[in-house]
Structure formats: structure tokens, C-alpha cells
Amino acid sequence: MRAGEPDRPDPDALLRQASQESRGRLKIFLGAAPGVGKTYEMLTDGAARARDGVDVVIGVVETHGRAETEALVRGHEVMPRRAIPYEGRTLSEMDLDAILERAPRLVLVDELAHTNAPGSRHPKRYQDVEELLGAGIDVYSTLNIQHIESLNDVVASFTRVRVRETVPDSILETAEIEVVDIPPDELIERLKAGKVYLPQEATRALSHFFSKSNLSALRELALRRAAQAVDAQMLDHVRALGVGGTWAGGERIVVAINELPGADGLVRAAKRSADALHAPWTAVYIETQRAQSFGEAEHRQLAAVMNLTTRLGGSVATVPAISIVDGIKAYLKDARATQLIVGKSHRSRMFELRHGSVVDRLVRETPDVAVHVLPLDASPAQPRGFRIPRGPWGSRRGYLWTTAMVAGVTAAASALFHILDLGNVALLYLLPVMVAATLFGLRTGLFAGLASSLAYNFFFLPPTGTLTVNNPENVISILVLLGVAIVTSQLTSRVRAQADMAAASARANAALAGFLRRLTPLGDPVELARAICEDVARLFDLRTVLLVPSGGTGLVIQAASDLQFRLETMELAAAQWAYDNGTPTGKGSGTLAASDWYFQPLRAGENVQGVLGLAKENGEDPLRPDQLPLLTSLVDQAALALERLRLEEEMRDVDVVRTRDRLRAALLSSVSHDLRTPLTAVMAAAAELHHGVTPDLIATIEAEAARLNRFVANLLDMARVEAGALNLKVEAVDLTDAVAGAAHDARRSLEGHAIQLAVPPAMPLVKVDQQLLHHCLLNLLDNAGRYADPGSPIIIEAAHSFGMLKLSVIDEGPGLPPGREAEVFETFRRFEGSDRAVGGTGLGLAIVKAFSEAMGMTVEAANRTDRTGARFSLCFPSPLIVRNSSPESEL
């Protein structure tokens, strides 16, 4: 908790400040009611700034024909509005793109709470303003107090006028607020003088709205809200500086929401408390069995409440649980909440008697948490009296079976009646009741209880053949049968509910685990993107598309669930928006909602890796609220997987560069040594020839020139390997033939060594590039010739076993340093004291390895076991081996 280290600057607060420095600044002219003069004030203020030399334009201002206001407008540059055709009419809206293009220092935007015409980029004007701020443009705007989201229902409670156009509180938190205030009496005067413009439809509510008491209350609210904003900004400032101040002791507020109307009121109340306490807050929805019976309306309501929470700056959590109380308790504990806000239940006394009041239990069972119980201000659609817990009516098959069972028991009991007493017969009837309640649910169970009681009464209770009861004992029997039906079905349905919940949760977990399993091994970005698209499409039955940024030209489609596929300009714009801003965009979100697609940014840490687009075939909202948590988990994993690939690629790039640098350094040192040494020898020997020709000088020139030649050949080979320019020309090659060629070309290095060829006659041909194999052998023979003891034989041996053909060059000499045999194939690897003396280049064996691997072969280096010396082998795996064919056929 932060309170423990109060003097350290709070990183979040610093981040907020930092991000604001590049952003434009917002000033809101806040009024208590229409007509107080906000627009006038804004224009005056703007004019003053313009006089100071600031570049000011008017984005949009409604003058409502008032002369003073119009006079003020004339002093400014006014941006033309954009015409939007809508249902036959033409609506004009602020032209956001034109302003962004014009890029003034300050723009005046009237009526922050305005709702844009359908088809605009954002549904709300305050979102336009946020984009302007994001572009670094300062904005002046006007707002009435009743349009502030969290105060909306407070205002409505005493004015009885509810406005639909609201702005989230978050936009006020970073804004400078100037309250435009006139005394209520004066406002009423202005109203009477006709100086206040009011929309036609509002007039009827006005007499009430503009009462003095209302105006006073609104004025107080406005002043208080402004003070609160100042307070919050002050606190941010203090935190950013790390100045120890009074902290609102780590309060955490949780509000329990549900699908019932009125839950939005709870959320607004939570927001107000959170603001007052400067506490973080979360709306938690407990998902129980009930959620499965939700219809479209309930889902929509729940989604609206969750959206509201996010808009007001709270976070949302969904917790699956068996019961509401358990879920809330578990969440409170996890979140270390200090305050809980719940709605007062509309449930009847009867229900609470049976189930216990949720509120009572919460108060009792969460001793550390302050529980606030608020009324839910809307009543449910229909009052619920005693209600049997919801459940399906049961299948017709169930009733038929039950009837059959009761009939069967009746028949059996009649047959056995002579050996059973009446009580035992009643016991027999328990059987169909329990079976029916267990298998077919409560209603069928009750039906079984009723049928059993009737049958028992009719056939066995005296007087038999009638439905009368003459004994209180028998009444009890009937009640017991019904009771058993209820209890059994309750138990069963509870167990079944638990199992269903567990299954649902297991399904979600399995989906997530399966998704992870599929993504983890993928190393190719396109395959990964395809897997993400396919899995999400399959899990949610949607069309999907994954877009990723491509070097500077915006987003491109990396994969999609259906192959012939392209996005319209509109969709691309929405995707780009989601990518640029890191927020969901498109259908079902607050931005560019006219798109058929919903775009979710794939975000890992600070980086947005790409955008996942979702759409339903029929153009409906792609996701239900209850699918959001799973989607979020999947998207997080997908983003992580993409991030992992990106990091791996970066690592590889770094690795490649590092290796290349190392090679370059080694090459330079090798070139300077290996070229200069023989050149020096040749030049010196040639100069010496002027004084007389000796066989020694000639031999030196020949040997050193040969060494130069070999070095150049190796450099060329290595360059081909490095450039990846090995054009393999694969053909069937006979090893004896290959050895003959190599032995001929290497004869100079092999002088003084006998070659023992141990290649069995029936060796199959191999499919390789003869030229590359030749170079491999040449280098191996050359290597052997240089390291082998003088006069010792060099053995070339071929063996064919376990489907693998192995060609080895074996020498007699010092061998390789034990334990470091494989290192010999590294570029420029020369073991100490070994190579320079005999003029190696450090490239030969690296070329052997590179060429062999390019042809699908492997190389081995080992020391001889029978005596000292090295053994280098080329291994041809079975795919490279040619089946024997007969050359003697007469083609």
C-alpha cells in the first residue's frame, strides 16, 4: 500500500502529468443551468487569448440568435461545419478533421455534452474534444452540471428532469473548471426576459426546473463539483511531487451490480463515494446459475452498467460463484476492499425467510467491510411473490415416465398389499418421487409427489376408492411425499448447478489452455496470427481478422478466419483507431460504432501488437457481456504470444549482428595474416631470384602461391555460404569417383602420404552437389595432409550401416584436443599451436560443415581410438542414398 512510503513520488500520478504535458489543456465553463452565460464567458475568454496573440478558432458555437453572443463570434475565425445527411435531413456537426488539419493553438467547442449525428466518428462531442486534446490542441468548452454522469441522477432526483446526454466525470478530472455563476434570481429574470434559449421539447418541464430552490441546489452542486476537481488535481500534484500529505487511508470501494434496472444508480453512488474518499473502486458482478436464464434484455442491461462503470473511471470484475454472498465475500477478500455498496433487495419477505437476506448475510459475514445498502431506484418489471426457483418445466417424457412409475408402484403395491402394511406402501411411493425429482427436476418431482399421494389416497388409504382422508397420520404421509419431492429436487438441482458452473468454468479454462497450447510452439508470425484468428473464431462463432502494423503504412491484414476477405475503409479506420489509441473500437464500443466490426487492440505492456477484429455473420453485436472475460484472457495471451515473437526476432537480429561482427573481425585478422604471410614469402623469394635460382626458392614460391590460391578459394566458398547463394545442383555421385577427384586436386598437400581407400565396391550412390562434396573432401584431405605425421598413411573409409552412409578421412597425428572436437568446425577456429605453423586458414573445416549441412548431411569430428590421430566424417542420411540401379540395361 502506498501509505507506507509516502515520500516517494507516485509513478501513476507522474505518468498522468507527463501524458498531460504533450496533450492539449481543457478548460470547462461549468454552469448550474442553461442561460447563465457560459458560451458568452467562453467567447470573451477566447477573445482575450486571441488578443494575447494565441491562434484561436471556433470549432462550434450555438449563438441561438443572441446579439451579444453573435457579436463575439464575429471576432473569431469560425471553422465551417460538416454536413451529415441523415434520414432525409442534413445535420451539421463540428468538423473534427478540419480542425485537426487547421491545428490551431486553441479551439472553442460549445456544449460538451452534445450527441453527434449518427455516422460521425464519435457518438459524443466530448470524444471529439478528447481527440483534439490528444492532438495537442487546447480546448475551451461549456457544460451544465446536470450533464455530468455521476451527478445525473442526483439532479434528476430533485428537478425531475433527466437528461440523456452525459459526459463522464473523468473528462473533468484533468480539466480546468471555471464556474459561470449568476444568482438564481437574476437567472429567473433573464428567463422571463426571454434571454435564455431552451429547446422546444424542454419547455413543459421548465416551470419546475427553474424554481429558485432547484437553481440554488444546482448552483451548490456546480460549485462543489468544481471544488472537488480542483481538489483532485491538487492531490495529483502533491502525489507527483511526493510531498507527504493526508492520504485517504487506502480505502477501496466495491459495488455489487446485477442485471436489474437501477444498478446504474449504485454505480453512480459508488463513483461519488470514491471521489469523496479518493479511493479506487470496482463494480463486481457475481455470475451465478441465474445468468444462464438471462435473455437479451438482461445481458444488455448488464453490459450498460459495466460500460457506465468504465466511463466513470471504475474497473469491472466478473466473478463466477455458486451464490451471490459467496462470490461477493471472495471478491472482497481478494480486492482487500474496505467498503461495499449493495442495492436493497426487492425480494419478498417470503423469499428472504426461505433464502436468508443477502444483505443480512453480507453484513454478518464481512465484519471488516463497511456495507452500504442503497435502494434500487427502479422497481422490477413484475413483482415477484413466492417463486419456486427457476427451472425448466421439464420434458413431456419426464411426466410420462413419472406417470408410468407411479402406476407401476401402484400395481406392485396392490399385488403385495397382503404382506405390506399401509406405512410401507407409502414408503414404496417415495421411490417414483425421488427418481422423478432427481432425473427430471422439481416440477416433475412435485407432479410425482402429487400423483403418488393421489394414488396412495385413492387405492390404499381407507376409505379406498375415494379421495378423502380420515386420519391425520395419512395427511402427514401425503405431506412427506411432497416434501421429499421438494428436498430431493432442490439437492439435485443444486448439485447440477454446481456441476454446470464447474463445467462452464472448466470449458473456459480448457479453451484458454488449448489456445495457449496452440500458440506456444508457433514461431512464425503468420502462423501465429492464423491460429489466433481460427481459435477465436471457433470459440465465439465469429468472423475474425488480425491486423498488424506494417512499416509506416498503417495496418495490414496478417490473417483472417475466412480467406477471401477485405476490410472497407470504414473498418480499416476503426482498426487504426483501436491501434493508435489502444482502446476497443467499432460495433458495441463507444467509438465508430457504425462499423460492423469490433476491434480489440492486442496489448502487451505498453505496446499494442496489433488489432483483433470480430464480427458476427448477421451483423449483430459480436460479443455478449458474459463472453468478454474469456475474450479478454485470450486477447491478453495472444498479445503476449505476439510480443514474445517480436522479442525473439529482435534477439535474433541482435545475435546475427553480433555473429557477423565477430566473423568480420576474425576475417580481417585472418586476411591480414593469411594473405600477407605467403605474399611476403613469394615477394622475398622472387627478389632473391635476381641473385641466382635455387630449387628452395622455387619450392617456396610454389608452396606459398598454392597456399594463397587455397585461401582465396576458401574465402570465395565462405562468401557463398554467408550470402546464402549455394545453388545446389544435386545429382547422383559415386563416392569413389568423388574421392578420386578430390585426391587428384589435393595431391600437392598430400605429398608424402599414401592414401588407403577403404570404400567397399557395392557402396550406393549419393544424391549431393558434386562440386560442394568435392570442396568438402578437398578441405578434409588438405587438413589431414597438414596435420598428419610425415610419411603416415591417410585412410579414406566408407561404411554403410543403419541406413546411414559415412565417409571418413582418418589421419595419424596429434589429433584434436579431447572434449573440444566439435569446436573444430567453427569459423576461424584454430587450436593453439596447431594451425599457423602449417598454414591453415581456419576456414576449411567451417566450409566443410556449412556445405555438408546445405546438402542435408552432417559432419563429425573425433579422435581415433586405435592410435593418435583425428577422424573426420561426412554422414549421408538415408534420404540422400540412391537405390541401386543397373547401368547394363539396354536403353
Binding site: K729, A732, V733, T736, G741, L757, S885, P887, L891
Partner: protein
């Protein structure tokens, strides 16, 4: 045997080196530095042989091969740093007698030149007997004798060896061998040839000296090495 040799190379050091080598062997040398002067010199001097570099400043040496042949009855040896097999095969197909890769061995160059000049104008008929060291191959009888050991040659082995023996010292391309020994079947697989050559090696070469009789010109063809 003295001959007039035209050396075509744009590098003066190479021309000087070749002149030294050739004159030591008793040949007469004329020089050209590019394709145009090479054709002119060939027309005027009517050389017995041309040593032709492929990388000339004005045109590709390969183009010169047929043009030089048209100028007169001359033997063309390509001497080039290009070691790609397709270049070698192309030069041979265009009518060059042989191909020597730079850097070359002076003695080897002279030997190749000697072989090329000797074969020039002589119809290629296989000798009845091919001898090298203690190896003796009786091509009529299809018998190879080495150190008192006799080996019988199969028909294919005989056909291949006879063709190589008729061109002893010169490279014979795979294509030509396949066409001759497999009766014009152009697409007889080269692996048939490989196996025949391997079997031949067992019959004509010492176990410790593979390549001493039949040399493998990588990607181009085979050359029978005679006594020289």
C-alpha cells in the same frame, strides 16, 4: 612439335607468363588483348592453336569460340578463372578442345595443349590396346590385365573405356559418353555412368591410386590419363 599459338588475354602478366612457357616448349607465340584483335590475329596469323581467356574487355570469350573456329582450322583451349561447370561444358560444346582453370600449372597446360594438337585432325578411333604402366586393356577382347590379374569388361564398360581411350588425355563430357554408350539415349541417367566408371576403376586402377587412370572432371566429364 612446334606450333603457332595465339594467346588471347587482357592481362599483360598472364600473356607474358604464357609466352615464356610456350616459347620454352618451342612454340611460336602471337598475342591479342581483346576479342576484336583476336579475330584479326586469327585471320592474319592462322595459328595452330588459340589459348582463349573468357573474361575479355569487349565481349564474352564464349562467343569467340565458334567465330575463331570459322577463321581457320584451329585448336581452341579455354584458359579462364571461371570455374563454373556450365561454362566449361558450354565451351566444350561450342567446339573448344579443352578447358584449363586459372591458376594453372605450366606443365599441365603444355600437356593439354600437346594432346589437343595431336588429336586435331585425327579421326577418333579407339586403339586396339590401351597401355599405361603395367596396365594393359585389350579393347577387342574386352580384357583388362594389371599385374598378372585379368578382368573381363562388360559391354558398357568396354563402350565407355573405348570412347575415353580414343580421346586419351582429353576430357569427354558426360553427355557424349552417355550418347555413345547408351546409343543416343540423351536422358540415360548419369548414375548409370557413375556405376560403370566405378566398376572400371576397380579393374584398371591400383586400390591406393584412385583417379590415376580415369580422372573425374567435376560436372563436366571424364578424362583417361595416358602415359605422358
Amino acid at each position: 612439335m612446334s606450333a603457332k599459338i595465339l594467346v588471347v588475354d587482357d592481362e599483360q602478366s598472364i600473356r607474358r607468363l604464357l609466352r615464356n612457357t610456350l616459347e620454352r616448349a618451342g612454340h611460336q607465340v602471337v598475342e591479342a588483348v581483346d576479342g576484336r584483335s583476336a579475330l584479326a590475329m586469327a585471320a592474319i596469323e592462322k595459328p595452330n592453336a588459340v589459348l582463349l581467356d573468357l573474361g575479355l574487355p569487349d565481349r564474352d570469350g564464349l562467343e569467340l569460340v565458334p567465330l575463331l573456329k570459322k577463321e581457320g582450322d584451329t585448336v581452341i583451349l579455354v584458359v579462364s578463372a571461371r570455374d563454373a561447370t556450365d561454362q566449361k561444358v558450354a565451351a566444350l560444346d561450342l567446339g573448344a578442345a579443352d578447358y584449363v582453370t586459372k591458376p594453372f600449372d605450366g606443365e599441365e597446360l603444355l600437356a593439354r595443349l600437346r594432346v589437343a594438337l595431336r588429336h586435331h585432325g585425327v579421326s577418333e578411333t579407339a586403339p586396339k590396346i590401351f597401355r599405361k604402366g603395367d596396365l594393359e586393356v585389350d579393347l577387342d577382347q574386352r580384357i583388362a590385365r594389371r599385374g598378372g590379374v585379368e578382368a573381363h569388361l562388360t559391354r558398357k564398360e568396354h563402350d565407355v573405356l573405348a570412347l575415353l581411350a580414343a580421346n586419351v588425355g582429353r576430357v569427354v563430357t558426360h553427355q557424349r559418353i552417355l550418347a555413345a554408350a547408351w546409343h543416343g539415349s540423351e536422358d540415360a541417367p548419369v548414375e548409370y555412368l557413375r556405376i560403370v566408371i566405378r566398376n572400371l576403376r576397380q579393374k584398371v586402377e591400383e586400390p591406393g591410386a584412385v583417379g590415376s587412370v580415369i580422372a573425374n572432371e567435376l560436372g563436366v566429364g571424364y578424362r583417361l590419363l595416358g602415359d605422358s
